[in-house]
Symmetry: D2
Subunit: 240 residues, 4 copies
């Protein structure tokens, strides 16, 4: 018998859409993200969507690029949302098999904050969990997920089991997720694999975020202690 | 103040070495893995090392390839060790910037078991955690970690924060981790980044494995329930 | 008006199939490779197919692993075929979004020969061209092509325009290229994108191989001259 | 005996620098690119450097995004330079093991032009050659080269042998290529591997560009002929 449906009020999620399009309502990626958002809202998670192109993020790897001479940088406002979130989901279209430039820009800015520590001396991302939604015409969901999940893990997020989902059609140009065909059918809507992976990703993000709500033990990963010379038992191995 | 050192007796870890070399004692990758093994043993984790080339794994993606005509397949014996482990660490040398063929063979065989479910209807890998150790002369730790961590995540493992470590020298041919130089110094031994990442990875694998010891809630990811038609709240989004 | 059909007698191509299956006739990848082979044979190219699993290749990165203690190594026989070929095509199935372990093993052995020079002091692969055929159920043609083409380029092959082709279905499990459906239709047969890319790849491999038949000028890439101290005009840039 | 030094007047090269920095003179990647530029200028190639951030490229995959509502798009001006170049070199810093967001933006805009054909009905990129320069502190030259070279090949460029070069230090944070150390030495300057690869890449780009100066035969790759129904001998293979 399966578990009863959990209530996850108290958790907060951010969904980033890294579409190249200025308008979120045109985004196929957003359409699939909406399925995940609905699952989370159904479990009482507080969800916020950030369409990255609604914000003018400066290029660079510092927390506020106006300190480096940029005329404008909306990142500090976006960061305020990230800082308090438990769940980060990055959605991206696939271009030439890779995440969008907007997605790389977002990752560079997330990376710019990796010097920030929580009150246990850990990366500020400890305790957060990360997932990926990728959509395209033909190929590259796994490649996008691979690259983005690694970045999130490297920053300090935990990656739950099967934390990615997406939709692509058969190889070659074609319609995108959520398009309406001439016969009235909806592209991607009947794909059980996409439905299942979206559901599993969404629930696993919530389960793990709840399990990590009180944080991760700091023994070994406390960067303040590292600076103070604590090595937590590390010894160089015997050499050959 | 940092946490006290935890005791993790009760946890079991497997370290796979995917060196191309037949003899484990020649492996630079093993040398670095030994540092992680020592940290885990120091926390009372039961550690087993599997030098993959000590076993004759058949090519293929079925649980036992002798059922498919292979003359020999040692995978079922190796699988017995994996099944009961809480922590999986995959160590690989880097060739042309990628994990070794032995590593891909191991991943294919782990993938061959992905139809196996635990008693909650989840992938058998749920509750396990995964990490990566990669060593080479010059380039590719991140690329190897990216690819292997994704595979582990896809199978059902949880990926803790910063779950990879490794060593490479400056670009170009050169000595490998653990080699003794003419002046008596040891290659890689004084690299603080490698020391730190190895320590953080090792402790984070243990912390997360302990947190997941009682498993992950099955709501949403119970594959038996999926087969029975349960959709856990998934609904197709409104289309455009 | 398009060019007349060239005659490429005098060129030699090797098609490597890196299927995990012991029997070539079971391989979906081979089915698609056959379309490319037919195009080349139609232009009078001498084509040889190597089903890698018909040969027992030892693990390792030396030219003959029996010199390193391996009980058997069929690589020297395979290498004889590579040495004299103008066109190398690597076919691979896609597992977890990546090329097969057999493919990585082949690449490691090709890499083992990178110390060999032609009579102009260049890598023995100079003048050869490389392409990729990848097939799977759902995702990863580009990722496989990306990884394999880079390896071939790194070794010294030239990569013609659009030197990869493949087939995948929509995301999720499904039939493979060349399977017969219950309604008698053939999976992948009507995919114009696959047809076109296979044709373009095949002809571009032949065009470039013919253009490179007399080799590539050795100024700058002559490794014997590098050993003798020739720098071919390289100077360190002015620093900052 | 090595070939005499060729004269490549008549060839034109563009070097794109995808640094995140607004000012080219701060870019470590530019420093290494300058070594390649000097080699090409020494062979009488006409070289132009484009610091991508000097131009305001709009996000999107259409030739001119002002047609899609963008307030400004400098891409058409940049494209004029690309159109007439024989050699394209993309330089990128490495962030989290991947090319910069500016680099992905450039690739998306190059991709936006892939519908353009030359007068033989081929992709406008046919006859051009592509290479990569990547620099960072610690890891990722191969991963960046892999991804970018594939994109260039997919668009229609030819990739010469060993068409990438770069510099990284040993794993972990550290100085960047071209930095001056306290002892007056210059980071990366004495790295023979970087010197050699930069030289080989530069000459191979010139050699191949010269060999392709009259274009590539259009049999098989003429897209106008494809539209007219010509299949250039393609036949579906016999199925199983």
């Amino acid at each position: 018998m399966t578990d009863v449906k959990p209530d996850y009020s108290g958790l907060k999620a951010i969904f980033f859409n890294c579409s190249l399009k200025p308008d979120n309502s045109d985004s196929h990626t957003q359409t699939l993200m909406n399925a995940s958002i609905a699952l989370m809202e159904g479990a009482s998670v507080a969800v916020e969507t950030v369409h990255v192109r609604d914000h003018e993020l400066a290029f660079g790897v510092q927390p506020d690029m106006t300190d480096q001479g940029a005329a404008r940088d909306d990142w500090p406002d976006v960061w305020d949302k990230v800082r308090t979130a438990d769940i980060l989901v990055i959605g991206t279209p696939i271009w030439l098999g890779e995440p969008s430039s907007v997605c790389r820009l977002l990752i560079e800015r997330l990376y710019a904050m990796s010097g920030q520590l929580n009150d246990k001396g850990q990366s500020i991302y400890y305790g957060k969990v990360g997932g990926v939604v990728a959509t395209g015409n033909e190929d590259g969901v796994k490649q996008c997920a691979t690259s983005i999940l690694y970045a999130l893990s490297h920053l300090g997020c935990t990656i739950p089991p099967q934390a990615d989902c997406g939709w692509i059609g058969p190889i070659g140009p074609g319609p995108s997720y959520g398009d309406k065909r001439d016969d009235g059918s909806i592209v991607g809507a009947d794909n059980m694999f996409t439905q299942k992976n979206t559901t599993i990703m969404s629930w696993n993000l919530m389960h793990l975020a709840a399990m990590l709500k009180d944080g991760i033990p700091s023994y070994g990963n406390d960067r303040d202690a590292w600076k103070d010379g604590n090595r937590f038992g590390f010894e160089n191995p015997e050499y050959r």
